[in-house]
Subunit: 446 residues, 2 copies
């Protein structure tokens, strides 16, 4: 029996994940909208046999573009351009159920799944940034519960659309003149609280049947959604204990509803600072923190907590008492994460800003390649992770260091593949290819 | 002074433009969802120095997929995958103003314009197919006037979004820590009858500033829209006289509102059947017509005219008297085109079906390479066209024949480029790169 294998995604953030990554001397910020910059990175990640590349998204401009590389090419077009220059690596794009139409989004993902020969994943988000609403004619961002209500129905609609052509609907017989068997192409006739969609999709079923369903929310609504629908979950934890609690909870939810817990991969973020000695790694981490700009970091903290600390002494203690109970925030996973750091570590304001600067609250680990590999193995073998979303502090160098120094150790320990075993992202993640809902109906009635 | 040059687009229709093109022995219908089939075609068209590839679209499945290749990969993802394997050729994708959100569409096009280094055009349509409404929660397709009302405002919004970053907004100075000059990134604060959009776009201004605005409607609303906004117009005419009337009308409209008439290129469709002799070309054309299936063609005619003729003798005269005056149809360009053929040619039903089968009402020309080149030159030099959308009856062979046999004649006559002179689609079409609306404001107030 082969050893259980790690899954590794490269989470691509234009200027790197550290908020000052774009300022680091090894980075290449002039190329943030140059597709060849991402194509080179995709080829590297494929050569390293990573499961997938992962792209975040939100349909509004971040309000702190002055100090950081906080914008990007649109993810679906980006992954399409990457699909064209790679053969095996998976490609995961984030898209919002709150600010898209299901018919349009279903087409885009099905098309990229065809173009990539079955390598696409959809990171399903409801969009946290309230300013998005104003780009779509709404007075206010729908609240958390409403967004998830729409998300559940959105997923039902796009799933039906992806299934609306049975896999064998295309006949293409020039002799008889029959191009498609229209008995195997189904209207979905969906009528719900948020959507009425007739279908069928105007595209044949894609190589994976459906893109891989990825999810990234860790609130109660998010966990419930993930347990029902997700096949991979991207999550943020600062320590093993919290990650274990989350892992156990989400896997138990799957068992509870009769889903195979192996069919949802839990992938925490990890942002590694790698040095040939511990001192060298810590010096690297310090170098990044020295490049942070409080005017930027205080804004990030304000969005996470509601606290305006620009007048305060940055080297004084973090004013925990100023955080007011706020039911709107209580469910937000980033808010909980900040509180957790504050309560455990009692940082100064500046220390907290540095903790957040690393990877917006994700796990930052600093050390030698062996130390990073140990961290990964510990989480992987102790019920905290099925793999990781690797978040390099800067690009491409932060990724190169991981591939050159950490990956060989993981391979030597038998934890990570030497080559791809399959063609599709479902193959890489060990997920089944779903039958069409309508194929099942046909079989049942036959 | 250099001679005025033809513009040539390749209009890519998955199985070829003849409705039975997919059945022709030289075609390759099994590859209609295989991106490499289009990538090979794009490379050929680029080697031939064509201005652009053109992709049609509609957000609903055609209801006659049983007999013909009437579906496609989604166009924006398709052109992105083509951008990744070409360097110079333009890429025009159709997208609907009726069934998209301006913020989402603006992002997608801006992103592909970045990815392609400035080679993108948007074919702006309001969507003619009524069944699309039912994929988007509407009881009925908005009427022609309402669709154009939304289209005008849609264009205003996306134009503002594309202009919302001035060209020099990105600073990217690692020393000072300034990534972008946010004084040069503008909220658009659009409030109109159909849309409220705050902006700015979450992507820097693209290489062309805005994609090339292409338009394809020839109704009164369509012409008015084209005169105001379009930079290229794709149009269907069966004969020189009609094409001249249209050309004169549209250029006069531009002059009337103070636009330079050279800044809108009129590009009729042309579907050529090429043989080394006239008899060979006619035999080729007959071969295609013999492959048509009345069950399919009668459906096309029904959608164009409202007439159900499946019980009729196909070799009897076309029953002109059955066409009832219908104000909803009176403005539809395809309807007028059918009436025009009927009134001029007095065809049998089968003859009319063959005329429509060729290229859904576009100009079909049959003959030797010299004859096709003469046709093109005649239209080009007699006020009927600035170039053409070439619509091969089948792929790839129908395009190869044009490139191998007609293009050399056009080049020998000095009518078509031997190489690209510029990098962007605007360069190929001879169109100016627009300044940002907001840059002009800054200059004015300075």
């Amino acid at each position: 029996m082969t050893q259980r294998q790690l899954h590794l995604n490269l989470f691509v953030y234009p200027g790197g994940h550290h908020e000052a990554g774009w300022r680091y001397h090894g980075s290449d910020p002039d190329r943030v909208v140059d597709i060849s910059y991402y194509q080179e990175l995709a080829r590297k990640a494929e050569a390293a046999k990573f499961d997938a590349l992962f792209f975040a998204d939100g349909p509004a401009l971040a309000d702190n573009i002055r100090y950081a590389s906080r914008f990007r090419l649109e993810p679906l077009t980006t992954i399409t351009a990457l699909a064209a220059v790679t053969q095996r690596i998976g490609l995961i794009a984030t898209a919002s159920t709150t600010y898209s139409e299901p018919y349009n989004l279903a087409r885009l993902f099905a098309s990229v799944d065809h173009i990539s020969n079955g390598r696409v994943g959809w990171n399903i988000v409801t969009t946290g940034a309230a300013q998005a609403a104003q780009n779509f004619g709404l007075d206010a961002h729908p609240d958390h519960g409403d967004r998830y209500g729409r998300a559940h129905e959105f997923l039902e609609v796009v799933t039906k659309l992806w299934d609306s052509w049975q896999d064998d609907a295309l006949v293409i017989d020039p002799q008889t003149g029959i191009f498609a068997d229209d008995d195997k192409i189904h209207e979905i006739n969906h009528v719900g609280a948020h959507f009425r969609v007739r279908g069928p999709l105007n595209l044949s079923r894609s190589p994976q049947g459906r893109p891989v369903y990825v999810q990234a929310g860790s609130s109660e609504d998010g966990r419930h959604f993930a347990a029902l629908h997700a096949e991979a979950i991207f999550t943020a934890h600062q320590n093993l204990r919290n990650a274990q609690d989350f892992y156990a909870d989400i896997k138990a939810r799957l068992r509870g509803i009769g889903r195979n817990p192996d069919h949802l991969k839990v992938l925490p973020g990890i942002s590694p600072y790698i040095g040939s000695t511990t001192a060298e790694a810590e010096a690297l981490h310090d170098e990044f923190n020295d490049l942070t700009q409080p005017a930027y970091s205080l804004g990030v903290l304000r969005r996470m907590t509601g606290l305006e600390l620009s007048g305060h002494d940055l080297d004084g203690p973090f004013p925990r008492h100023l955080i007011a109970p706020d039911p709107d925030r209580a469910e937000a996973s980033r808010f909980k994460l900040v509180l957790d750091i504050v309560d455990r570590e009692k940082p100064t304001i500046r220390q907290l800003l540095h903790r957040i600067a690393g990877a917006r609250g994700h796990w930052v680990t600093v050390g030698t390649p062996e130390k990073i590999a140990d961290d990964i193995q510990t989480w992987f073998e102790n019920g905290a992770a099925d793999g990781f979303n690797v978040m390099p502090p800067w690009l491409h160098g932060g990724f190169d260091a991981f591939v050159d120094h950490v990956l060989p150790i993981l391979r030597k320990r038998g934890l990570f593949r030497h080559d791809y075993q399959g063609q599709t992202l479902r193959d890489h993640f060990g997920l089944p290819r779903p039958d069409s809902l309508y194929a099942t109906e046909t079989k049942r009635s036959a």
